[in-house]
């Protein structure tokens, strides 16, 4: 700060001539500067984002096995084959189950942690750091701990050790999808990794709720606890909740890392949409056409879900204001 202000003061003389300056040369020319600032980004965006998107839309209409410059136009056949591919439709079911579990659980846990931390007076920063720390850990590392230490199907796994104290038999969490114990592993690992991040969002929102609201409620006789939570805190957190749920949904949609490492792409169950795309486009068949068609379908779906959710939460807001 101090250096910048002194620098400003140090050059007062040229300021006198400033009215003429912006017109002098390119330095003050807005159009030139706009492209100077945004040019590198836009060129990169065009090459590495727009080109792939349009290329893949183009590829999705061609028979593109082992080639990215196909010549055989096949119309919507790739779309048909993806939508009738039981692996692909099955992966959409996997995503739906996963989202139905992880979105509400993360929402509730991160909100719960935020409410706890918000009420702390001592060691607040410490506890916030503890809950936030898993954000630094990669999905791969966490998957490794979950798979090889906590939910190992044999006796030395932590979970089975603890259950063993209560006389429970060893559970094979990951080798058998019946009953689907693998969801316990998959959901808890993501819960641990991401709850702290969303807790920070909720904490920031909690700090922005005006204290007068609670004071007014106390005067009106509302009991602190459930009543103030239900009628003040929760409605005040509505915007944050909407954003958090949307972020969680989009993240669940793109789930890959922990499924890949915990369940592996060789399994016939628990495959997410991205894993199916990975196998289709980069597996033995290298079917870029079908893989691209799958990517287009997924993109359309996620956009639809996003818009629907915005609409749904929007309606909710309308009801509240009545």
């Amino acid at each position: 700060m101090s250096t910048t202000t002194t620098r400003g003061v140090a050059q007062p003389a040229p300021a006198k001539a400033s009215p003429a300056r912006p017109r002098r040369g390119l330095r003050g020319n807005p159009t030139f500067n706009f492209w100077l600032f945004t040019g590198p980004f836009l060129v990169g965006l065009a090459i590495f984002v727009f080109v792939p998107i349009f290329w893949s839309i183009w590829l999705s209409f061609f028979d593109a096995r082992f080639t990215v410059t196909p010549s055989k136009f096949i119309g919507f056949d790739n779309y048909k084959s993806m939508l009738t591919n039981s692996n692909f439709t099955g992966s959409l079911v996997t995503f739906t189950v996963f989202a139905a579990l992880i979105v509400p659980l993360t929402w509730a846990l991160s909100l719960g942690l935020a409410l706890l931390v918000h009420r702390l007076r001592f060691m607040r920063a410490f506890f916030r750091s503890v809950f936030f720390l898993p954000t630094a850990v990669s999905y791969v590392a966490a998957a490794l701990i979950w798979k090889m230490s906590i939910f190992t199907g044999v006796r030395f796994g932590l979970m089975n050790t603890v259950l063993g104290w209560f006389g429970v038999e060893n559970i094979a969490y990951l080798s058998d999808p019946n009953p689907p114990w693998y969801w316990l592993v998959i959901v808890t690992v993501r819960l641990w990794l991401q709850a702290g991040f969303y807790m920070i969002l909720f904490l920031a929102a909690l700090q922005n709720i005006p204290a007068e609201l609670y004071e007014a409620a106390a005067i009106d006789g509302a009991k602190p606890g459930w009543q103030t939570f239900r009628y003040i805190t929760l409605p005040q957190l509505r915007a944050t909740s909407t954003a958090v749920i949307l972020l969680l949904l989009v993240a669940a949609y793109q789930a890959f890392d922990e499924f890949f490492n915990i369940i592996s792409i060789k399994a016939t169950w628990g495959q997410t949409p991205l894993m199916v795309l990975y196998k289709t486009a980069l597996g033995d068949n290298q079917d870029y056409g079908a893989g691209s068609a799958g990517a287009v379908i997924l993109t359309v779906l996620i956009c639809a879900v996003t818009l629907l959710q915005g609409k749904f939460m929007g309606f909710g807001r309308g009801e509240d204001s009545k």
Partner: protein
Amino acid sequence: MTTTAPQVGKEPGKKRGDVLGNAGLYIAVSVAALLFLLPFYLILRNSLSTDPEITGENWKLLPSFQWGNISELFDDPTVDFARSMWNSMVIAVSMTVGTLLICSLAGYGLARIPYKHANKVFYAVLATLMVPTAVTFVPSFVLVSSLGWIDTYRGLIIPGLFSGFTCFLFRQYFLGFPKELEEAARVDGLGYWGAYWRIVVPNSLNFFAAMATITFISGWNAFLWPLVIGQDPSSWTVQVALSSFMTNQTVNFHLIFMATAISILPLVFVFLFLQRWLVQGIAQTGIKG
């Protein structure tokens, strides 16, 4: 960072119920904290144990502190772990520097430089946010492979530099940057470029630190893209190497966990030192994003 809530605990009117409530609160938060720290404990314990200790029937709380596991991991001829750590460091650092440079300039241009088509450009950037980056890995792979960038740093780094989301966050931030500071700079005869580097950036270091932390963490932890692009073991990042350990039966438990511990270590340091800015940054931008 301090609470706005009054220090009611010190007030004379508050009685036993409050003390009990506080005790309950601290017990609940401590139990939750222990559960959150448990995986870190497991990594440390296992990484400093011998294999029989890890797989033994009797649960041992403390390891026998096998510090030799570290050198054993780096001397292991079957996996070049040092190389994968180096790759991850090169990639995460270059991605952080590159993304910050490119996206902050673009964000500033979109937020502050008057240009009649600026809105159209901004909508084009916004449109890319609708397409989840992970879904585009198939077409991106197609592009990168036809450029011949498989197994190269270029292929691992460059496609990730042009993040519409980061550009968007910078734009939102610069919209709230005090205009008076820039106007003073303009009066002093600085052009847009000079004002940006001499006034705007030095006064935005908090926000840059937050974005740097986020970018570094996501660069270090990225898995899908390095998995797709780094096909030869010499171009593996540490995440891809860890993943291969899980399926590779020849690697031992204690080495796997030591590798995990070492892979997490740089991030925990980055995280602990930069957490303040990170929290601020998320609080500022996360909700809008």
